[in-house]
């Protein structure tokens, strides 16, 4: 089986990092092959940014995503750009602070608002990653948590872990 996941948003929102941590969490152990790719403009911040993760229990040939099984939009521009390139059964997560959608089946996570409430606007991506971890198959809270811990220095790991946990819990409540 193969799961195609696409993240989109703006440069600086941590789109690529969220995808890398997810890919690493799936990539641990023997069970899944992963491929993580990205495309972004020359700007450091603000330009359109896309990251893709493919997870498969078979060899991954085409490493990119064509039509996505899971689509995560961090901002309106990214949402509009890729909202059509998804499968009919796709799971859609949007950062509802910045994305307006008429799609009732999309999961709305007010990630920017939650991050700003924490006083740490830069952890938007961790809120989204937490929500995503809750909803994705075959991936568990501690696996991604360990990747976050490994990725950040101790001084900022705390804020990121907190945001991750908040996103996870928010989604858990939504799914009940």
């Amino acid at each position: 089986m193969r799961l195609d996941i696409r993240f989109s948003g703006a440069g600086g929102q941590g789109v690529i990092l969220a995808s890398v941590l997810l890919a690493k969490a799936y990539g641990l152990g023997e069970d899944y092959n992963i491929s993580q790719t990205q495309s972004y403009g020359p700007e450091a911040r603000g330009g359109a940014c896309k990251a893709e993760v493919v997870i498969s229990d078979e060899n991954i040939d085409y490493p990119k995503v064509d039509t996505a099984d899971v689509f995560i939009a961090f901002n309106q521009m990214g949402y509009e750009k890729y909202r059509k390139q998804i499968k009919k059964t796709a799971i859609v997560l949007v950062n509802s602070t910045l994305v307006e959608t008429d799609d009732d089946s999309a999961y709305q996570i007010p990630a920017t608002e939650m991050a700003e409430d924490m006083g740490k606007p830069f952890v938007v991506n961790m809120v989204m990653l937490g929500a995503l971890t809750k909803i994705l198959p075959k991936i568990y809270y501690p696996t991604v948590e360990a990747e976050i811990q490994e990725n950040f220095s101790a001084s900022i790991a705390g804020a990121n872990l907190e945001a991750y946990s908040k996103g996870y819990e928010y989604m858990a409540e939504r799914l009940e």
């Binding site: 890398v20 092959n33 495309s39 991954i60």
Partner: protein
Amino acid sequence: MDKGSTKPGYVVLQGNEACVKAAIYAGCRFFAGYPITPSTEIIEMMAEEMPICGGAFIQMEDEIASSCAIVGARWGGRKAMTATSGPGFTLMQEAIGFAAVTETPVVIVNVQRGGPATGQPTLSSQQDIYQARYGSHGDYEMIALAPSTVQEMYDFTVRAFELAEKYRTPVVLLADEVVGHMREKIIIKKGTVDVRPEKIAGIASPSADFFTGENVLVEGQLHDERGRRIGHLPDKSGEFLMKLNNKIRKNVDAIADLKTYFLEDSDTAIVAYGSVERPAMDAVRLARGIKDDMVNTTVKFVKNVFKKGVPAAIHTDYSHLKVGVIKINTPWPFPKNELTRLTRDVKLVIVPEMNIGKYYKEIERALPDKKVVSMPKCGGNLHTPKEILDTILKEMGVNE
């Protein structure tokens, strides 16, 4: 800096990072470079890793200096590498020619981006395929390796050092943005092997070898075995130049590395190098109907977990199509014999490339009795499996 997971067994690394790990494993202890997207991660990681493993890292003023520095470093006794992309690769051509004529084993990594000139810094291409072969002036033969996976980025970097030492020549690792920036799960080896060839193959001017304590003369003009200039002597110069080129030309089959998939019963072959091989593989699976199960199980998988209703996957069965893939890992020197042997029963050859269609000309010339179709793609994106499948169907005369 992304160091990848340290869990036993596998690591998740970016292609550029895998290249660094491999270079250190292969004994590289000198790196000079100038950062340029999409190869910058190599330079960043080298800056961190070289001092740790007892090597030296220098950020140079430009790519000309970087490439000259690695040639000097190799004569100074260190295995050396540099990494760059399009515009930097252009600047390095002078020193690449110098490394070729002085028979200096160095490795140059070109993580290709779109060109010409500044081109497309963040997008991919295979436009430098001929520059890797003929970028510098004069007659010399080049070895270039084209990885398509992160594991190959690792393995081919090690092989690049082996080939450089064996043939005493610069070797180009011709990667591209896709494989350079992609993260995958790979297995890396522990420690360091100081790759030294058992036998150096047919060197043109066997001046004193490295580390022997003898005085050496490193000469850019054509030279004799002691490094003395012979540029004014046509006979000797001709002899030297033939030797210099023949050490590669006579070993094309030994250097050649080609992989085949589903080729046994095929009358059509997709010939690809670098990351384009990956959508080509997917396209062939689609064509042969092998992909069908996988598509369905993904849908089932999503359905089971999320309990959503799903329509049945619609798939046309093309399983009667006999199409395979030939993957060229060593585009240069051109593996003519090997390609001819592998395509013996093939009538149609399709060559997808992320450029205006360059390498296909070489294939067309090598296979005069076959129909060779170019499938160029410019703009910075990899071919999609669907695009390649459509070309297969069109060229094989199958109506959808």
